[in-house]
Assembly symmetry: C2
Homo-oligomer: 198 residues x 2
C-alpha cells in the first residue's frame, strides 16, 4: 500500500463492510477523497448518529432511535395480528407488499445454538409477555424458509399453542411470475402440498 496512514485507515475501515474487498475499499476511499468530501463528512455524521442513538423498539424490537417505533405507536394497525419476522428488512418487505395491517415482532435473528443465538437473544421472553397480555389473536410466523427459520417458527408456534393463540405460517409455493422450469424441487413439493381448489 502506497497511501498515507489516514487514507490507509479509511480503506481498512471500509473493508469491514460486507461484500467490500480490498480493491473496492480503495476505490470507495479515493472516490470520496477525490470527488465527494461532503459525502464523506455526511456519511461520517450519519454513521456516528446511528451507531450512538439507534436502539430497539420496546414493543417490536426493530431498529429505531425512539423508545417505541412509529409503526407500534400507529393507531390504524390491527393489534390483534402479530407477525414475527427475523430482521427489520423483512418488515420493510412485508410493508411494501401493502397486504398486512397488523403489528410486528422482530427477532433480530433466528435460533442458531451453534452461533450462541438462543431464545434469550431473540427476545422470546418479551414475545411471551406480549402473548400473555391477551391482545394478540393470531400470530403469523414469517421467519425464513431455512432450517433455522423453520426451527424458530416451530418453537414460537409452541408458545402460541400453550396459550391457545392461533399460529399461522406464510404460504410456500411458486413465486409470482415464476416459470415452473426454474423453480426448485423443494418449492414445487410445497406448492403441490399446499394446492388449493380454484
Amino acid at each position: 500500500m502506497q497511501f498515507s496512514p489516514l487514507v490507509n485507515e479509511l480503506i481498512e475501515a471500509l473493508r469491514r463492510l460486507p461484500g467490500v474487498g480490498p480493491k473496492s475499499a480503495q476505490r470507495l476511499a479515493l472516490h470520496m477523497l477525490q470527488r465527494d468530501r461532503d459525502g464523506a463528512r455526511r456519511l461520517a455524521r450519519a454513521l456516528d448518529g446511528a451507531a450512538e442513538r439507534v436502539g430497539h423498539c420496546a414493543d417490536c424490537r426493530t431498529l429505531t432511535e425512539e423508545p417505541v417505533c412509529r409503526l407500534c405507536r400507529g393507531s390504524h394497525r390491527d393489534r390483534s395480528l402479530l407477525c414475527v419476522v427475523e430482521w427489520p428488512q423483512d418488515l420493510v418487505s412485508l410493508e411494501n407488499s401493502g397486504a398486512y395491517q397488523g403489528l410486528y415482532f422482530i427477532l433480530m435473528g433466528r435460533l442458531s445454538p451453534l452461533d450462541g443465538i438462543g431464545p434469550r437473544e431473540l427476545g422470546l421472553e418479551r414475545l411471551e409477555a406480549r402473548l400473555d397480555a391477551g391482545e394478540v389473536r393470531e400470530l403469523i410466523l414469517a421467519t425464513s424458509s431455512t432450517v433455522e427459520g423453520e426451527t424458530t417458527a416451530h418453537v414460537i408456534g409452541e408458545l402460541c399453542r400453550a396459550r391457545g393463540i392461533q399460529a399461522t405460517r406464510l404460504a410456500q409455493g411458486v413465486p409470482m411470475g415464476g416459470e415452473l422450469e426454474f423453480v426448485d424441487g423443494g418449492t414445487l413439493a410445497h406448492a403441490l402440498q399446499g394446492r388449493r381448489p380454484v
Copy 2:
C-alpha cells in the same frame, strides 16, 4: 421506507458511494447497526479524519495528510525520472510492479474541457515549475490509454519539448498472459507498430 429517520439518513448517505444502489445501501446500514457498531464508529472516525486532514503533496499532488508525501521525501528514489499519472491509484499500481524507482506527478484527472478540467485543474503550472527546476531528465507519460489520456500526454509532451527534456510514453501492446484471440484490434495495431527485434 419503514425505517426510523436516523437509519434512513444512514442509508441515504451510503447511497452516495459509487456502485451502491438502494438495496445494498440498506444492506450495509443494517449490517453495521445489527452486527458491527464498532465498525460503524471506526468508519465514521476514519471518514472524518481523512475528509478533514488529507490534502495534496506539495511536490507530486498525491493524496496525503503530510505537506510532502513519504515517497517524495524518500532519499532512495531517482530524482531525474518523473512519471506523470492521472490518479493516486495509478501510482500504487506502478509501485506494485516494482519496476520504477523515480518520482511521480499526479494530475488528479485528465484534460477534459467539457467537464471543466483544464491545465489549471491538473496543476500543470506546478509541473512546469518542476521541469524548470532542472532536476528532471526524463518525463514518463503514464496517463491512461483513452482519448483524454492521450490528449493530456500530448500536451505535457509539448511542455517537455519546449524545455529540451526527454518525454517517453508507456509501451502499448499485448498484456502479459493475453491470448491474441481475445486482444482487441486497436491494441494489436499498437503491438505490431511497436514490435521489437528478438
